[in-house]
């Protein structure tokens, strides 16, 4: 039967660019996106050592504006966006009434009464619907521009020298988790010093129709700088080394922020009721039922998502993400375990194809970028 579509697959506006670069494309969060170009390891190393260019057009961009925008967002999210100075951003989450995580977000304050909420692709509809519902009755309007905006990120230590020549935004003055309006390659853009790689870098929001121009300008500026186009594969290994959670792996509706080690993000003292507050106060009081930890596998084998984790004969949890760390050269993983097994130095076992393989609990992140001198 024609005309009945189960779900819509969106294509990044840059899909032809990716095809021309020989990218492997995959469906991710309802979007056709590049998984890799030259290879995940190559791209991963380019970002750690030089720079990488990412198409993140699948991410959701939701603008909230109005005299009560800050207050309405404070009631809708676990953070307090009213506390943000104009031009600054913070990490946030959309909570369910039971304290579970519906999505993790970045909230940018663009003006006194204007905010940008960036959501994961797979959840952007959920976030959009929830915000529409939670903002109702407030003097704040929601404008979901997810399909109309593209997002391109330049990440890595050379990102300043790649983006700098193209923009009128003062990059030296743009702090980590700050955002500024300006032009990049002549295109009106929002430039944020944020990312998901553990490196310095920028995320650039533009209208979808201008994304092709922006991509071409950045590629050209990255020539001679060793910058590579990077896919979602490298983005995943980079964020895992940096100890950053991925929604769907570490975060889901059955997990609360305290369990995910993100209790500091939840502002219980913001002086106003918000969705999930009562449940989260209880968790803060009583302690989480499980804890997210970093693991380094000490024997042969790679821990993968879903593998069981035990302490002796006692099952204690499961792996949420795992790979061979390209930077450290050892198998790393994140896992939920019982709180009593979460202490760094604890030796646990990951069950890999029926074999118990020793893994040590280590503090997150696995990788921290060297401080610039």
């Amino acid at each position: 039967m024609t005309g009945l579509i189960d779900h819509e697959l969106h294509e990044t506006p840059l899909v032809e660019r990716h095809r021309a670069l020989g990218a492997k494309l995959i469906e991710f969060g309802g979007w056709l996106m590049p998984l890799q170009y030259s290879g995940i390891l190559d791209e991963h190393r380019a970002v750690r050592e030089r720079a990488g260019l990412f198409d993140l057009s699948h991410m959701g961009e939701l603008f909230v504006e109005g005299p009560e925008a800050g207050r309405a967002l404070a009631a809708a999210l676990v953070t307090d966006p009213r506390a943000l100075a104009v031009g600054r951003a913070h990490y946030s989450m959309l909570g369910a009434p039971d304290g579970g995580i519906l999505d993790d977000l970045i909230v940018y304050r663009l003006a006194e009464e204007r905010f940008l909420v960036v959501a994961n692709a797979a959840n952007s509809r959920i976030v959009s619907d929830a915000l529409a519902e939670r903002l109702a009755g407030s003097r704040a309007v929601l404008d979901d521009r997810s399909l109309a905006m593209a997002l391109i990120a330049v990440q890595g230590r050379r990102s300043v020298s790649i983006l700098g020549p193209l923009t009128d935004v003062d990059l030296a003055g743009l702090k980590y988790y700050a955002i500024a309006e300006g032009k990049v390659a002549g295109i009106p853009a929002l430039v944020a010093r944020t990312g998901y790689t553990g490196e310095d870098g920028f995320e650039i929001f533009v209208e979808s129709g201008r994304s092709d121009e922006l991509w071409a300008a950045l590629i050209e500026s990255g020539q001679g700088q060793g910058m590579l186009p990077c896919g979602l594969g490298a983005r995943d290994t980079l964020r895992l080394e940096a100890g950053m959670p991925l929604y769907g792996n570490e975060l889901d509706p059955g997990t609360n922020p305290f369990e995910a080690g993100l209790g500091r993000v939840v502002k219980l003292d913001k002086g106003l009721d918000f969705v999930g507050r009562a449940a989260l106060e209880k968790v803060a009081r009583e302690g989480p039922a499980k804890r997210l930890v970093g693991l380094i596998v000490r024997e042969r084998g790679i821990a993968r998502s879903g593998y069981a984790v035990s302490n002796g004969d006692r099952q204690t949890g499961h792996v949420t993400s795992g790979t061979q760390s390209p930077t450290l050269g050892v198998p790393i993983a994140m896992a939920y375990v019982a709180p009593e097994d979460a202490e760094p130095g604890t030796i646990l076992a990951v069950e890999i194809r029926g074999q118990k393989v020793a893994a040590e609990v280590v503090p997150l992140p696995f990788y921290r970028r060297p401080r610039e001198s």
Partner: protein
């Protein structure tokens, strides 16, 4: 396209038979599909493998894939170099990236494998 002196499985392993010894690996197509290979788990010398049964695992950065034996027999050698250099499977899948040498039990099993042109056809349409 693929080497013509080899036989193939539909699961993308190749085998080269010389006398009663079969050398086994994965095809260039498989290595490309997997991406950067970071871990290879192979059976020990002296163990036996059955035709089309799993004999080991290959892991790329992103995924885990089973390896299937093109022929049954006794493992006379596993490529131990792959434990420290799994990337050889990507860089030289038909050469230094070989995985197993098997003493073939039943040479008749060769007839159940794909000829090079049939394997080419399989990967062209998938």
């Amino acid at each position: 396209m693929v080497p013509t002196d080899l036989r193939y499985t539909k699961d993308h392993e190749w085998v080269r038979v010389e006398d009663d010894v079969a050398t086994v690996g994965i095809t260039s197509y498989a290595a490309d599909q997997l991406g950067d290979i970071v871990f290879v788990e192979l059976p020990s010398q002296g163990s036996s493998v059955e035709q089309f049964a799993t004999f080991g695992v290959v892991e790329s950065v992103k995924a885990v894939s089973d390896l299937y034996a093109p022929l049954g027999g006794e493992v006379i050698e596993a490529n131990t170099e792959l434990s420290s250099k799994p990337e050889l499977v990507n860089s030289d899948p038909y050469g230094a990236g070989w995985m197993l040498r098997i003493r073939v039990g039943d040479a008749g099993q060769l007839g159940e494998l794909l000829q090079p042109d049939a394997y080419d056809e399989l990967t062209a349409t998938s």
